[in-house]
């Protein structure tokens, strides 16, 4: 009677210890992305082309290219020396890099050393993330009972989303708590307060390292080690042996590639679309995502658990299918909600505020005209036009800078939360069961290496590039604001075809081999 209770308690401890570490790694990784604009002004001044170049490298190289390398480096280590020490190492690398970013002096203080240091630390973050997930998923799966593998590993799956939630939450709280005056608080945050979310990470990491140090090695891996059956060259066995390589390719093209784009479209492109295309206010666009994440997160566990009964394949495939069919109408609805042409303006309430800041010795001035438009449903749109007011009245600025920001009404706000929630439900369908699915595809001795690479190519490259490629498509084909969605729809479509045709729905009852 006591044995199953102890077993359940044991697995809960394992899940908690693994998940907290993975959650912190995701938090560390996301705060850099969420604070990219602030970091750019501190370390990568646009006026300096070399610094701007380093900024581009920091964005692309660390986020996307380095992650699969991390998967190879740490996956190999995990199969050679064990799961426990490897994902302890990734946690320490990630935590110390994040903390160090918070300490690097700005470009104005140490010049080029600043962006170079930040770039190196960001690369280390990418490497560590590449090694973390495979270790955590493998570790939990190798402890879980066969019939509940999907349920237990789905807790690891919640960490990526909760890490984003935590990073957005801590950033917003810090941004508003540095001064009683909101504007002053934001100014302080942009000046030095942005360092706080990075520095906070060290406390979280110390706790997590302490917890992980107390964990034991995975029983399956420990058994292999005692028997002397661990792989001597996991990279070679994973990627040069045809029988395993074919499974790596199937995992990538039949599952993780589609899962990656569905994930990044629902959680990242949706927020970027609401902010940059719909022109919704900075904070509203982020809190919409926070609410949607909060409501949808339990579904990772629901679909993970359900996959233990009905198999992993069809839940993931249906998630992709729903995404492909509904993305255009859903994003179209987001556009329509924020479209002022569908609203009635109250012209009598219009407010115009003009600020003129004279330039020294020229007689010209910087003119900022801020116009507030009010609408009957409660939406307020602020149009800020910045141009030069010339002393010579015959001269005008050819292309003034115009920025729009909409504070949407309560009803529209919750409507957007519901739409993003639905998109994150698709994420939970494709992402909830995938850890168990990947673990079951590969043998214990090369599992860490074999599952990490397709996961990080699918998520880091196919998924991670979604916001960039989608945005790029909207600049190439500027007449259709929804054109960016063709990238995730085509990638998920190909993945769906391959998955339906080639994947098996059978749950592997024995991963102990």
């Amino acid at each position: 009677m006591n044995q199953p209770t102890n077993e359940v308690q044991g697995i809960r401890r394992i899940i908690a210890a693994s998940s907290v570490g993975t959650l912190i790694e995701w938090y560390d990784f996301y705060i850099f992305g969420s604070l990219a604009t602030v970091i750019a002004t501190q370390f990568f001044p646009k006026t300096n082309p070399t610094a701007a170049l380093l900024s581009t490298f920091a964005t692309f190289a660390a986020g996307f290219i380095v992650r699969p390398f991390g998967a190879l480096v740490f996956g190999r280590l995990g199969d050679l020396i064990g799961r426990k020490y490897t994902f302890l190492l990734t946690l320490i690398i990630m935590g110390s890099s994040t903390f160090a970013i918070g300490l690097v002096p700005g470009y104005e203080t140490i010049g080029f050393a600043a962006p170079i240091l930040v770039l190196v630390l960001r690369l280390l973050q990418g490497l560590a993330l590449g090694g973390e997930y495979g270790g955590a998923a493998t570790y939990v799966a190798e402890h879980a009972p066969p019939k509940r593998r999907g349920f237990f590993t789905s807790w690891i799956q919640t960490t990526a989303t909760l890490g984003l939630f935590l990073s957005l939450g801590i950033i917003l709280i810090t941004r508003h708590s540095l001064d009683i005056d909101r504007a002053k608080s934001i100014a302080k945050f942009n000046d030095w307060g942005w360092r706080i979310p990075f520095l906070v990470s060290i406390f979280l990491v110390v706790i997590s390292v302490y917890i992980r140090l107390k964990m034991k090695e995975s029983p399956m891996y420990a058994k292999l080690k005692i028997e002397g059956k661990t792989s001597s060259n996991p990279l070679k066995e994973s990627f040069t042996h045809r029988s395993n390589l074919k499974m790596v390719l199937l995992a990538l093209f039949g599952a993780t590639m589609g899962q990656g784009v569905v994930w990044y479209t629902g959680q990242f492109y949706a927020q970027s679309f609401i902010e940059n295309i719909c022109k919704v206010d900075f904070e509203q666009s982020r809190t919409i995502l926070i609410w949607a994440i909060l409501f949808a997160t339990p579904f990772f566990v629901f679909f993970g658990g359900w996959s233990d009964r009905v198999g992993r394949k069809w839940i993931m495939m249906i998630g992709m299918l729903l995404a492909i069919i509904t993305y255009r109408p859903l994003f179209g609805q987001l556009l329509s909600i924020a479209d002022v042409n569908n609203k009635i303006e109250l012209p009598e309430q219009k407010q115009i505020n003009t600020t003129i800041n004279p330039f020294a010795h020229t007689g010209n001035s910087l003119r900022i005209v801020s116009t507030k438009h009010f609408f009957s449903d409660g939406m307020v749109m602020t149009e800020t036009k910045t141009d030069t007011a010339y002393a010579d009245l015959s001269k005008t600025t050819i292309k003034p800078d115009i920025k729009l920001s909409k504070l949407i009404s309560k009803n529209d706000y919750w409507m957007m939360v519901a739409i993003v929630f639905l998109m994150i439900i698709y994420v939970t369908m494709v992402y909830g069961p995938i850890a168990a699915f990947l673990v079951e595809m590969f043998p214990t001795k090369i599992r860490y290496t074999s599952m990490s690479l397709p996961y990080h190519i699918g998520n880091g490259i196919f998924g991670g590039l979604t916001p960039f490629i989608a945005l790029l498509l909207t600049t190439i084909y500027s007449t259709d604001k929804l054109v960016g969605l063709f990238y995730p729809m085509i990638v998920a479509g190909v993945c769906l075809l391959i998955g339906v045709l080639y994947l098996r729905n059978k749950i592997d009852s024995d991963v102990n081999d």
Partner: protein, 82 residues
């Protein structure tokens, strides 16, 4: 079903080079439109990253044509070529 899997393999083998052709074509056209360092890096990253993936899908297609996916392995012993 196995025949469909094998025939579809041809499609995956064609998909790789086709994707790379269009990727390079678009990259060259976009770089010539806006020849600044940011555009060059961005497109260079896309091309460098997606070429190995395209090779991967060609290999996948080849395996599909040769019947490697007609039956998926049931146990780990079938996955390790020793």
């Amino acid at each position: 079903m196995n025949t469909t899997k094998r025939i579809a393999g041809i499609l995956w083998m064609i998909a790789g080079p086709t994707a790379i052709y269009y990727l390079i074509k678009t990259a060259l056209s976009e770089i010539s439109k806006k020849p600044v360092i940011d555009t060059k890096i961005q497109w260079a990253v896309f091309v460098i990253v997606f070429i190995p993936i395209a090779i991967g899908i060609v290999i996948f297609g080849y395996y599909a044509i040769t019947g490697e996916y007609d039956r998926l392995p049931e146990s780990s012993a079938e996955i390790t070529d020793q």
